[in-house]
Symmetry: C2
Subunit: 204 residues, 2 copies
Amino acid sequence: MTESANPIDFWFDFSSPYSYLLSERIDELAGRFGRKVRWHPILLGVVFRSTGSAPLTLQTPVKAKYWLIDFERSARFMGIPYHHPSQFPLATQIAARAYYWLHGQDCGLARHFAHAVFRALFADNRDISTPDTVFDIAAQLCVDRVALEAAVNDPVIKEQLKDEVDHAIQIGVFGAPYVLIDGQPFFGADRLPQIEKWLETGGF
Amino acid sequence: MTESANPIDFWFDFSSPYSYLLSERIDELAGRFGRKVRWHPILLGVVFRSTGSAPLTLQTPVKAKYWLIDFERSARFMGIPYHHPSQFPLATQIAARAYYWLHGQDCGLARHFAHAVFRALFADNRDISTPDTVFDIAAQLCVDRVALEAAVNDPVIKEQLKDEVDHAIQIGVFGAPYVLIDGQPFFGADRLPQIEKWLETGGF
């Protein structure tokens, strides 16, 4: 294994529009350079309490108005379907816990599930804060509903999510999407062109 | 005149790194689509008081660290010289007033002066909050030093800058660089690719 094969880390919250946009591109981009991506759903609410930040649409009205324009325009620019959710922002701990439980069993299934959750929220306007919606999404991927319902209430899985959030805060994740490549941090879906150049050139 | 010839408006603060990066590209980009750019230096400190924001490097240490990495990396990505100023952030009202006074006499000269101020701060690490530095920069462009010194203390010029800042806040400018094209707002140097596509396609 050469150093260039080190995995890329990608932190996100299922309720973050720019995380959704980056999630639709990062695996394909990394793959072109022989890299894999490790996905880490976290809870931005907890991160923001530690950094004194706020969700973009809960800042001043004038900023909220801009970000709503920019979410949709950035999606069109990237060729990704986007419908701003009626329920926004919203709680994502059930989806995140489900992700980690699935990941413990089948990494590929967890990835499909993550895409399905993002698309449910940002393309199909479904309320992913509702446990039933999360279970329905998983059921479409043939996940056992009863086992999943037990998992998202399992203290071990709850602790795993808490540890992921704590670890993210510890290493300096202050928002999402946040990508770390060989120690180099990239914040925002708009850093994809820089990520591409970084992978291409090994740093610039 | 077709609608596509409408001028583009560009608000910036001389102490804003991403404004500097955008300033190095916006005129050439606009020119390719037959557009002119109207430059509006403002005072972000005043804007931030109205929106409850703070300069990027005065946010939490973890964010400040990221933005310092990103300023320099974004500059390298864009092929623009960048040296983070020793004095940062810093006051820019003298430079902004000088700009408006020069603009009243010679629009092209004001543009040269604005580039020279940005480059003095972000390439040559000069302290542009000092009036003498601003006067030296202008003197290099053959501006009369005594007349300029009088101008930056002239209540009419002070009022002109105040009006520009007030107007910017009124129309929703909450940070810099902020670009308005046919009513469509773009915030940040990282929106240049979207600006380019917007100009190319007339909206997307």
